[in-house]
Symmetry: C2
Protein backbone atom coordinates (compact mmCIF):
# COMPACT_ATOMS: atom_id res chain seq x y z
CA UNK A 1 0.00 0.00 0.00
CA UNK A 2 2.37 2.69 -1.22
CA UNK A 3 1.27 6.29 -0.87
CA UNK A 4 2.23 7.55 -4.30
CA UNK A 5 1.08 11.12 -4.63
CA UNK A 6 -1.35 11.04 -7.49
CA UNK A 7 -1.60 14.49 -9.03
CA UNK A 8 -5.03 15.94 -8.42
CA UNK A 9 -7.14 16.42 -11.53
CA UNK A 10 -6.72 19.79 -13.12
CA UNK A 11 -10.28 20.90 -12.52
CA UNK A 12 -9.77 20.23 -8.81
CA UNK A 13 -6.49 22.13 -8.72
CA UNK A 14 -8.06 25.07 -10.47
CA UNK A 15 -10.96 24.96 -8.03
CA UNK A 16 -8.38 25.10 -5.22
CA UNK A 17 -6.84 28.24 -6.68
CA UNK A 18 -10.20 29.92 -7.19
CA UNK A 19 -11.34 28.92 -3.70
CA UNK A 20 -8.22 30.43 -2.25
CA UNK A 21 -8.74 33.66 -4.16
CA UNK A 22 -12.28 33.88 -2.89
CA UNK A 23 -11.19 33.32 0.69
CA UNK A 24 -8.49 35.98 0.34
CA UNK A 25 -11.03 38.35 -1.23
CA UNK A 26 -9.07 38.59 -4.47
CA UNK A 27 -12.57 37.97 -5.74
CA UNK A 28 -14.66 39.88 -3.21
CA UNK A 29 -18.15 38.86 -2.03
CA UNK A 30 -20.80 39.94 -4.50
CA UNK A 31 -18.27 40.48 -7.27
CA UNK A 32 -18.02 38.49 -10.48
CA UNK A 33 -15.28 35.99 -11.25
CA UNK A 34 -13.49 36.41 -14.58
CA UNK A 35 -15.49 34.84 -17.40
CA UNK A 36 -14.88 31.23 -18.31
CA UNK A 37 -13.02 32.08 -21.53
CA UNK A 38 -10.76 34.37 -19.52
CA UNK A 39 -10.04 31.72 -16.90
CA UNK A 40 -9.61 29.21 -19.69
CA UNK A 41 -6.84 31.38 -21.12
CA UNK A 42 -5.26 32.06 -17.74
CA UNK A 43 -4.96 28.41 -16.79
CA UNK A 44 -4.41 27.14 -20.35
CA UNK A 45 -7.18 24.59 -20.13
CA UNK A 46 -10.37 24.12 -22.08
CA UNK A 47 -13.49 25.97 -21.05
CA UNK A 48 -15.15 22.68 -20.12
CA UNK A 49 -12.50 22.14 -17.48
CA UNK A 50 -13.08 25.64 -16.07
CA UNK A 51 -16.80 24.96 -16.05
CA UNK A 52 -16.20 21.83 -14.03
CA UNK A 53 -13.95 23.63 -11.56
CA UNK A 54 -16.59 26.29 -11.07
CA UNK A 55 -19.10 23.47 -10.63
CA UNK A 56 -17.17 22.39 -7.54
CA UNK A 57 -17.36 25.87 -6.08
CA UNK A 58 -21.08 25.91 -6.79
CA UNK A 59 -21.60 22.65 -4.99
CA UNK A 60 -19.76 24.13 -2.03
CA UNK A 61 -22.04 27.13 -2.06
CA UNK A 62 -19.15 29.55 -2.61
CA UNK A 63 -20.42 31.05 -5.86
CA UNK A 64 -23.71 31.68 -7.55
CA UNK A 65 -23.88 31.36 -11.33
CA UNK A 66 -26.28 33.21 -13.63
CA UNK A 67 -26.23 32.11 -17.20
CA UNK A 68 -25.65 35.03 -19.53
CA UNK A 69 -24.42 37.24 -16.70
CA UNK A 70 -21.52 35.54 -14.98
CA UNK A 71 -20.37 33.86 -11.80
CA UNK A 72 -20.55 35.76 -8.52
CA UNK A 73 -19.00 35.24 -5.11
CA UNK A 74 -21.53 34.55 -2.40
CA UNK A 75 -21.47 35.92 1.11
CA UNK A 76 -22.54 33.18 3.49
CA UNK A 77 -23.50 34.38 6.96
CA UNK A 78 -23.98 31.52 9.40
CA UNK A 79 -27.10 31.81 11.51
CA UNK A 80 -27.31 30.00 14.84
CA UNK A 81 -30.72 28.58 15.71
CA UNK A 82 -31.15 27.97 19.44
CA UNK A 83 -33.73 25.21 19.26
CA UNK A 84 -34.28 24.53 22.95
CA UNK A 85 -34.31 28.22 23.90
CA UNK A 86 -36.80 29.39 21.31
CA UNK A 87 -39.97 28.86 23.25
CA UNK A 88 -39.35 29.44 26.95
CA UNK A 89 -39.07 33.19 26.72
CA UNK A 90 -42.01 33.79 24.46
CA UNK A 91 -39.74 34.26 21.50
CA UNK A 92 -41.51 31.68 19.47
CA UNK A 93 -41.71 31.61 15.68
CA UNK A 94 -40.88 34.96 14.14
CA UNK A 95 -39.63 36.31 17.41
CA UNK A 96 -36.88 33.77 17.91
CA UNK A 97 -35.80 34.04 14.29
CA UNK A 98 -35.70 37.83 14.53
CA UNK A 99 -33.36 37.68 17.50
CA UNK A 100 -31.07 35.18 15.81
CA UNK A 101 -30.80 37.26 12.64
CA UNK A 102 -30.35 40.59 14.42
CA UNK A 103 -27.49 38.94 16.32
CA UNK A 104 -25.71 39.01 12.95
CA UNK A 105 -26.50 42.67 12.30
CA UNK A 106 -29.03 41.83 9.61
CA UNK A 107 -32.65 42.82 9.23
CA UNK A 108 -35.05 39.86 9.47
CA UNK A 109 -37.97 39.55 7.08
CA UNK A 110 -40.91 37.15 6.67
CA UNK A 111 -43.82 36.24 4.47
CA UNK A 112 -46.77 34.09 5.54
CA UNK A 113 -49.41 32.31 3.52
CA UNK A 114 -52.17 30.34 5.21
CA UNK A 115 -53.66 27.38 3.41
CA UNK A 116 -55.68 24.25 4.07
CA UNK A 117 -54.64 20.75 3.04
CA UNK A 118 -55.59 17.13 3.64
CA UNK A 119 -53.31 15.35 6.10
CA UNK A 120 -50.65 13.19 4.47
CA UNK A 121 -49.89 9.83 5.98
CA UNK A 122 -46.78 11.19 7.62
CA UNK A 123 -48.44 14.32 8.97
CA UNK A 124 -51.39 12.30 10.24
CA UNK A 125 -49.10 9.99 12.17
CA UNK A 126 -47.16 12.79 13.78
CA UNK A 127 -50.27 14.78 14.70
CA UNK A 128 -52.34 11.80 15.77
CA UNK A 129 -55.20 12.53 13.36
CA UNK A 130 -56.80 10.59 10.50
CA UNK A 131 -55.17 10.53 7.09
CA UNK A 132 -56.97 13.01 4.87
CA UNK A 133 -58.42 15.08 7.71
CA UNK A 134 -58.24 18.82 7.27
CA UNK A 135 -55.14 20.71 8.37
CA UNK A 136 -54.42 24.40 8.45
CA UNK A 137 -50.94 25.06 7.15
CA UNK A 138 -48.95 28.25 7.63
CA UNK A 139 -46.27 28.46 4.95
CA UNK A 140 -43.58 30.90 5.99
CA UNK A 141 -40.55 32.28 4.19
CA UNK A 142 -37.75 33.87 6.18
CA UNK A 143 -35.16 36.39 5.04
CA UNK A 144 -31.93 37.77 6.52
CA UNK A 145 -31.57 41.15 4.89
CA UNK A 146 -32.77 40.37 1.37
CA UNK A 147 -31.28 36.88 1.42
CA UNK A 148 -33.80 34.01 1.67
CA UNK A 149 -32.64 31.66 4.41
CA UNK A 150 -35.44 29.40 5.52
CA UNK A 151 -38.76 27.80 4.62
CA UNK A 152 -41.08 26.65 7.40
CA UNK A 153 -44.48 24.96 7.00
CA UNK A 154 -46.54 24.55 10.17
CA UNK A 155 -49.50 22.18 10.26
CA UNK A 156 -52.32 22.23 12.80
CA UNK A 157 -55.52 20.19 12.85
CA UNK A 158 -58.12 22.57 11.35
CA UNK A 159 -60.45 22.20 14.32
CA UNK A 160 -57.70 23.18 16.72
CA UNK A 161 -56.53 26.08 14.54
CA UNK A 162 -60.06 27.46 14.48
CA UNK A 163 -60.46 27.19 18.24
CA UNK A 164 -57.15 28.93 18.74
CA UNK A 165 -57.95 31.58 16.12
CA UNK A 166 -54.86 31.06 13.98
CA UNK A 167 -56.53 30.63 10.61
CA UNK A 168 -55.32 34.00 9.35
CA UNK A 169 -51.82 35.20 8.53
CA UNK A 170 -51.72 37.44 11.58
CA UNK A 171 -51.80 35.58 14.88
CA UNK A 172 -51.23 38.40 17.33
CA UNK A 173 -48.67 38.88 20.05
CA UNK A 174 -46.59 35.78 20.75
CA UNK A 175 -47.76 33.93 17.67
CA UNK A 176 -49.47 30.59 17.26
CA UNK A 177 -48.05 29.06 20.42
CA UNK A 178 -49.45 31.88 22.54
CA UNK A 179 -52.89 31.43 20.99
CA UNK A 180 -52.69 27.73 21.80
CA UNK A 181 -51.73 28.65 25.35
CA UNK A 182 -54.79 30.93 25.52
CA UNK A 183 -57.05 27.91 25.05
CA UNK A 184 -55.12 25.74 27.47
CA UNK A 185 -53.22 23.79 24.81
CA UNK A 186 -49.81 25.39 25.30
CA UNK A 187 -47.09 23.32 23.64
CA UNK A 188 -44.60 22.20 26.27
CA UNK A 189 -43.15 18.96 24.92
CA UNK A 190 -41.07 19.07 21.78
CA UNK A 191 -39.53 16.45 19.50
CA UNK A 192 -37.23 17.54 16.69
CA UNK A 193 -35.80 15.32 13.97
CA UNK A 194 -32.84 16.71 12.05
CA UNK A 195 -31.86 15.30 8.68
CA UNK A 196 -29.66 16.32 5.79
CA UNK A 197 -30.68 15.83 2.16
CA UNK A 198 -30.40 17.38 -1.28
CA UNK A 199 -32.59 20.40 -1.98
CA UNK A 200 -35.63 19.93 -4.18
CA UNK A 201 -35.88 22.19 -7.21
CA UNK A 202 -38.42 24.47 -5.51
CA UNK A 203 -36.44 24.73 -2.31
CA UNK A 204 -33.28 25.45 -4.27
CA UNK A 205 -35.04 28.22 -6.16
CA UNK A 206 -36.30 29.97 -3.07
CA UNK A 207 -33.12 29.50 -1.05
CA UNK A 208 -31.03 30.64 -4.01
CA UNK A 209 -28.95 27.49 -4.04
CA UNK A 210 -27.99 24.89 -6.60
CA UNK A 211 -30.35 21.92 -6.83
CA UNK A 212 -28.94 18.94 -4.93
CA UNK A 213 -26.95 21.10 -2.56
CA UNK A 214 -27.54 19.91 0.99
CA UNK A 215 -30.32 21.34 3.11
CA UNK A 216 -31.02 20.76 6.75
CA UNK A 217 -34.57 19.59 7.38
CA UNK A 218 -35.92 19.97 10.88
CA UNK A 219 -39.27 18.39 11.70
CA UNK A 220 -40.68 19.65 14.97
CA UNK A 221 -43.67 18.12 16.72
CA UNK A 222 -45.03 20.15 19.61
CA UNK A 223 -47.35 18.57 22.17
CA UNK A 224 -49.34 20.00 25.08
CA UNK A 225 -49.02 19.08 28.75
CA UNK A 226 -51.15 15.96 28.19
CA UNK A 227 -48.83 14.78 25.42
CA UNK A 228 -51.39 15.58 22.72
CA UNK A 229 -49.65 16.82 19.53
CA UNK A 230 -50.76 20.32 18.61
CA UNK A 231 -48.55 21.23 15.68
CA UNK A 232 -46.06 19.87 13.20
CA UNK A 233 -43.50 22.17 11.60
CA UNK A 234 -41.10 21.38 8.81
CA UNK A 235 -38.13 23.73 8.54
CA UNK A 236 -35.87 23.69 5.48
CA UNK A 237 -32.58 25.61 5.54
CA UNK A 238 -29.53 25.88 3.31
CA UNK A 239 -27.08 23.43 4.89
CA UNK A 240 -24.01 25.63 4.97
CA UNK A 241 -25.90 28.61 6.28
CA UNK A 242 -27.07 27.35 9.65
CA UNK A 243 -25.92 26.02 12.95
CA UNK A 244 -28.46 24.30 15.18
CA UNK A 245 -27.89 24.48 18.92
CA UNK A 246 -29.51 22.22 21.51
CA UNK A 247 -29.07 22.48 25.27
CA UNK A 248 -30.40 20.16 27.94
CA UNK A 249 -29.77 18.97 31.46
CA UNK A 250 -29.97 15.38 32.69
CA UNK A 251 -30.44 13.77 36.07
CA UNK A 252 -27.20 13.30 37.98
CA UNK A 253 -25.63 9.90 37.32
CA UNK A 254 -24.85 7.74 40.32
CA UNK A 255 -21.49 5.94 40.37
CA UNK A 256 -21.68 2.77 38.28
CA UNK A 257 -20.90 0.36 41.12
CA UNK A 258 -23.18 1.98 43.69
Amino acid sequence: MSTIEVPRPRFAQIADVLRDRIQRHVYAPGCPLPSEPELSAEFSVSRVTINRAVGLLRSEGLVRVHRGRGTFVRAIPVITRHATKRFGEREQGRGAFDVEVRALGLEPGHEVVVDRVAASERAAEFLGVDVGSELVVRRRKFYAGDVPVQLADSYLPAELAEKAGVTEAETGHGGTYSRLADIGRAPVHFVEDVTCRGATAKEAEFLDMEPNQPVLEVVLVAADKDGQPVSLTQHVMAGQQWQLRYEWTDQVLEPADA
Copy 2:
Protein backbone atom coordinates in the same frame (compact mmCIF):
# COMPACT_ATOMS: atom_id res chain seq x y z
CA MET B 1 -44.77 34.24 -15.63
CA SER B 2 -45.44 31.39 -18.00
CA THR B 3 -44.44 27.91 -16.92
CA ILE B 4 -42.81 26.70 -20.11
CA GLU B 5 -41.46 23.23 -19.56
CA VAL B 6 -37.79 23.55 -20.41
CA PRO B 7 -36.47 20.13 -21.36
CA ARG B 8 -34.14 18.88 -18.67
CA PRO B 9 -30.58 18.18 -19.75
CA ARG B 10 -30.07 14.65 -20.96
CA PHE B 11 -27.66 13.72 -18.20
CA ALA B 12 -30.30 14.75 -15.66
CA GLN B 13 -33.02 12.76 -17.41
CA ILE B 14 -30.81 9.72 -17.55
CA ALA B 15 -30.00 10.16 -13.86
CA ASP B 16 -33.76 10.22 -13.23
CA VAL B 17 -34.20 6.90 -15.02
CA LEU B 18 -31.29 5.27 -13.22
CA ARG B 19 -32.48 6.64 -9.87
CA ASP B 20 -35.90 5.18 -10.50
CA ARG B 21 -34.44 1.81 -11.41
CA ILE B 22 -32.41 1.79 -8.22
CA GLN B 23 -35.43 2.66 -6.12
CA ARG B 24 -37.46 -0.06 -7.80
CA HIS B 25 -34.60 -2.52 -7.29
CA VAL B 26 -34.18 -3.12 -11.01
CA TYR B 27 -30.61 -2.51 -9.94
CA ALA B 28 -30.56 -4.14 -6.50
CA PRO B 29 -28.50 -2.92 -3.53
CA GLY B 30 -24.91 -4.13 -3.76
CA CYS B 31 -25.24 -5.03 -7.43
CA PRO B 32 -23.40 -3.33 -10.26
CA LEU B 33 -25.00 -1.00 -12.76
CA PRO B 34 -24.43 -1.78 -16.43
CA SER B 35 -21.07 -0.42 -17.57
CA GLU B 36 -20.87 3.06 -18.98
CA PRO B 37 -20.40 1.86 -22.57
CA GLU B 38 -23.50 -0.31 -22.16
CA LEU B 39 -25.58 2.55 -20.78
CA SER B 40 -24.11 4.76 -23.47
CA ALA B 41 -25.52 2.41 -26.09
CA GLU B 42 -28.86 2.00 -24.34
CA PHE B 43 -29.54 5.73 -24.12
CA SER B 44 -27.78 6.63 -27.37
CA VAL B 45 -25.59 9.26 -25.76
CA SER B 46 -21.86 9.58 -25.39
CA ARG B 47 -20.11 7.92 -22.51
CA VAL B 48 -19.24 11.35 -21.08
CA THR B 49 -22.94 12.07 -20.65
CA ILE B 50 -23.44 8.76 -18.86
CA ASN B 51 -20.48 9.54 -16.67
CA ARG B 52 -22.07 12.83 -15.72
CA ALA B 53 -25.42 11.22 -14.97
CA VAL B 54 -23.71 8.68 -12.73
CA GLY B 55 -21.89 11.61 -11.12
CA LEU B 56 -25.27 12.93 -9.97
CA LEU B 57 -26.14 9.60 -8.38
CA ARG B 58 -22.76 9.60 -6.67
CA SER B 59 -23.33 13.03 -5.23
CA GLU B 60 -26.65 11.79 -3.91
CA GLY B 61 -24.94 8.86 -2.26
CA LEU B 62 -26.99 6.33 -4.24
CA VAL B 63 -24.05 4.56 -5.87
CA ARG B 64 -20.44 3.87 -5.09
CA VAL B 65 -17.99 3.83 -7.98
CA HIS B 66 -14.77 1.81 -8.12
CA ARG B 67 -12.52 2.59 -11.00
CA GLY B 68 -11.69 -0.52 -12.96
CA ARG B 69 -14.48 -2.52 -11.32
CA GLY B 70 -17.74 -0.76 -11.92
CA THR B 71 -20.56 1.20 -10.30
CA PHE B 72 -22.48 -0.37 -7.43
CA VAL B 73 -25.79 0.41 -5.78
CA ARG B 74 -25.39 1.42 -2.17
CA ALA B 75 -27.65 0.33 0.64
CA ILE B 76 -28.24 3.30 2.91
CA PRO B 77 -29.76 2.39 6.24
CA VAL B 78 -30.82 5.49 8.17
CA ILE B 79 -29.73 5.43 11.79
CA THR B 80 -31.63 7.51 14.32
CA ARG B 81 -29.49 9.09 17.03
CA HIS B 82 -31.51 10.01 20.13
CA ALA B 83 -29.31 12.82 21.40
CA THR B 84 -31.23 13.78 24.53
CA LYS B 85 -31.88 10.19 25.57
CA ARG B 86 -28.36 8.88 25.25
CA PHE B 87 -27.12 9.64 28.72
CA GLY B 88 -29.93 9.33 31.22
CA GLU B 89 -30.12 5.56 31.17
CA ARG B 90 -26.42 4.86 31.30
CA GLU B 91 -26.36 4.15 27.61
CA GLN B 92 -23.63 6.62 26.95
CA GLY B 93 -21.10 6.40 24.14
CA ARG B 94 -20.82 2.91 22.72
CA GLY B 95 -23.88 1.78 24.59
CA ALA B 96 -26.27 4.28 23.02
CA PHE B 97 -24.84 3.69 19.58
CA ASP B 98 -25.15 -0.07 20.00
CA VAL B 99 -28.85 0.23 20.81
CA GLU B 100 -29.46 2.53 17.86
CA VAL B 101 -27.74 0.19 15.41
CA ARG B 102 -29.29 -3.00 16.78
CA ALA B 103 -32.67 -1.29 16.31
CA LEU B 104 -31.92 -1.67 12.59
CA GLY B 105 -30.99 -5.35 12.88
CA LEU B 106 -27.31 -4.63 12.31
CA GLU B 107 -24.30 -5.56 14.39
CA PRO B 108 -22.51 -2.52 15.86
CA GLY B 109 -18.72 -2.32 15.82
CA HIS B 110 -16.13 0.12 17.18
CA GLU B 111 -12.47 0.94 17.26
CA VAL B 112 -10.81 3.23 19.79
CA VAL B 113 -7.42 4.93 19.76
CA VAL B 114 -6.31 7.09 22.67
CA ASP B 115 -3.94 9.95 22.02
CA ARG B 116 -2.71 13.17 23.58
CA VAL B 117 -2.76 16.54 21.86
CA ALA B 118 -2.31 20.22 22.66
CA ALA B 119 -5.57 22.12 22.95
CA SER B 120 -6.53 24.07 19.85
CA GLU B 121 -7.99 27.53 20.26
CA ARG B 122 -11.46 26.21 19.65
CA ALA B 123 -11.13 23.23 21.98
CA ALA B 124 -9.60 25.42 24.68
CA GLU B 125 -12.52 27.83 24.52
CA PHE B 126 -15.14 25.09 24.74
CA LEU B 127 -13.37 23.27 27.58
CA GLY B 128 -12.38 26.37 29.51
CA VAL B 129 -8.66 25.52 29.53
CA ASP B 130 -5.54 27.30 28.20
CA VAL B 131 -4.63 27.05 24.54
CA GLY B 132 -1.89 24.45 24.16
CA SER B 133 -2.65 22.64 27.42
CA GLU B 134 -2.61 18.87 27.25
CA LEU B 135 -5.77 17.00 26.26
CA VAL B 136 -6.48 13.30 26.15
CA VAL B 137 -8.35 12.45 22.98
CA ARG B 138 -10.28 9.27 22.31
CA ARG B 139 -10.65 8.77 18.57
CA ARG B 140 -13.46 6.37 17.84
CA LYS B 141 -14.70 4.76 14.65
CA PHE B 142 -18.17 3.26 14.54
CA TYR B 143 -19.54 0.60 12.22
CA ALA B 144 -23.00 -0.74 11.46
CA GLY B 145 -22.34 -4.26 10.21
CA ASP B 146 -19.19 -3.73 8.18
CA VAL B 147 -20.27 -0.28 7.01
CA PRO B 148 -18.39 2.65 8.58
CA VAL B 149 -20.94 5.18 9.77
CA GLN B 150 -19.42 7.59 12.23
CA LEU B 151 -16.22 9.23 13.50
CA ALA B 152 -16.15 10.65 17.01
CA ASP B 153 -13.23 12.37 18.74
CA SER B 154 -13.65 13.08 22.46
CA TYR B 155 -11.35 15.52 24.23
CA LEU B 156 -10.80 15.74 28.00
CA PRO B 157 -8.30 17.86 29.92
CA ALA B 158 -5.40 15.45 30.60
CA GLU B 159 -5.49 16.07 34.34
CA LEU B 160 -9.18 15.22 34.50
CA ALA B 161 -8.76 12.14 32.30
CA GLU B 162 -6.05 10.83 34.61
CA LYS B 163 -8.14 11.38 37.74
CA ALA B 164 -11.05 9.63 36.12
CA GLY B 165 -8.85 6.80 34.83
CA VAL B 166 -9.86 7.08 31.19
CA THR B 167 -6.41 7.32 29.62
CA GLU B 168 -6.62 3.82 28.13
CA ALA B 169 -8.86 2.48 25.35
CA GLU B 170 -10.92 0.46 27.80
CA THR B 171 -12.92 2.58 30.25
CA GLY B 172 -14.99 -0.06 32.00
CA HIS B 173 -18.72 -0.40 32.49
CA GLY B 174 -20.67 2.69 31.48
CA GLY B 175 -17.76 4.33 29.71
CA THR B 176 -16.08 7.68 30.24
CA TYR B 177 -19.14 9.39 31.65
CA SER B 178 -19.50 6.77 34.39
CA ARG B 179 -15.84 7.20 35.34
CA LEU B 180 -16.41 10.94 35.56
CA ALA B 181 -19.43 10.26 37.74
CA ASP B 182 -17.24 8.08 39.98
CA ILE B 183 -15.11 11.11 40.85
CA GLY B 184 -18.08 13.42 41.32
CA ARG B 185 -17.79 15.10 37.92
CA ALA B 186 -20.77 13.48 36.25
CA PRO B 187 -21.76 15.34 33.09
CA VAL B 188 -25.30 16.60 33.42
CA HIS B 189 -25.48 19.69 31.24
CA PHE B 190 -25.10 19.29 27.49
CA VAL B 191 -24.76 21.70 24.56
CA GLU B 192 -24.78 20.34 21.02
CA ASP B 193 -24.09 22.30 17.85
CA VAL B 194 -25.19 20.68 14.60
CA THR B 195 -23.78 21.79 11.26
CA CYS B 196 -23.69 20.49 7.72
CA ARG B 197 -20.59 20.72 5.53
CA GLY B 198 -18.68 18.90 2.80
CA ALA B 199 -16.64 15.89 3.89
CA THR B 200 -12.88 16.27 4.07
CA ALA B 201 -10.84 13.78 2.06
CA LYS B 202 -10.00 11.71 5.16
CA GLU B 203 -13.57 11.66 6.39
CA ALA B 204 -14.80 10.69 2.95
CA GLU B 205 -12.33 7.84 2.82
CA PHE B 206 -13.35 6.38 6.15
CA LEU B 207 -17.07 6.93 5.67
CA ASP B 208 -16.88 5.48 2.16
CA MET B 209 -18.40 8.55 0.55
CA GLU B 210 -17.46 10.92 -2.23
CA PRO B 211 -15.39 13.92 -1.16
CA ASN B 212 -17.58 17.00 -0.82
CA GLN B 213 -20.68 14.99 -0.06
CA PRO B 214 -22.42 16.48 2.97
CA VAL B 215 -21.63 15.29 6.47
CA LEU B 216 -23.36 16.17 9.69
CA GLU B 217 -20.98 17.48 12.32
CA VAL B 218 -22.17 17.42 15.91
CA VAL B 219 -20.06 19.15 18.54
CA LEU B 220 -21.09 18.17 22.06
CA VAL B 221 -19.85 19.92 25.17
CA ALA B 222 -20.68 18.15 28.44
CA ALA B 223 -20.47 19.96 31.75
CA ASP B 224 -20.84 18.81 35.36
CA LYS B 225 -23.40 20.01 37.92
CA ASP B 226 -21.30 23.13 38.61
CA GLY B 227 -21.28 24.05 34.92
CA GLN B 228 -17.62 23.09 34.52
CA PRO B 229 -16.98 21.58 31.06
CA VAL B 230 -15.65 18.05 31.31
CA SER B 231 -15.52 16.86 27.72
CA LEU B 232 -15.81 17.96 24.13
CA THR B 233 -16.85 15.49 21.44
CA GLN B 234 -16.90 16.01 17.70
CA HIS B 235 -19.07 13.56 15.79
CA VAL B 236 -18.89 13.30 12.00
CA MET B 237 -21.52 11.30 10.11
CA ALA B 238 -22.50 10.77 6.50
CA GLY B 239 -25.32 13.25 5.99
CA GLN B 240 -27.85 10.99 4.30
CA GLN B 241 -27.29 8.17 6.73
CA TRP B 242 -28.46 9.72 9.97
CA GLN B 243 -31.40 11.27 11.67
CA LEU B 244 -30.79 13.24 14.86
CA ARG B 245 -33.59 13.33 17.40
CA TYR B 246 -33.93 15.83 20.21
CA GLU B 247 -36.66 15.85 22.84
CA TRP B 248 -37.26 18.39 25.55
CA THR B 249 -39.96 19.83 27.76
CA ASP B 250 -40.49 23.49 28.56
CA GLN B 251 -42.23 25.33 31.34
CA VAL B 252 -45.92 25.83 30.70
CA LEU B 253 -46.65 29.09 28.91
CA GLU B 254 -49.11 31.46 30.54
CA PRO B 255 -51.66 33.15 28.28
CA ALA B 256 -50.07 36.14 26.55
CA ASP B 257 -52.43 38.71 28.03
CA ALA B 258 -52.31 37.36 31.57
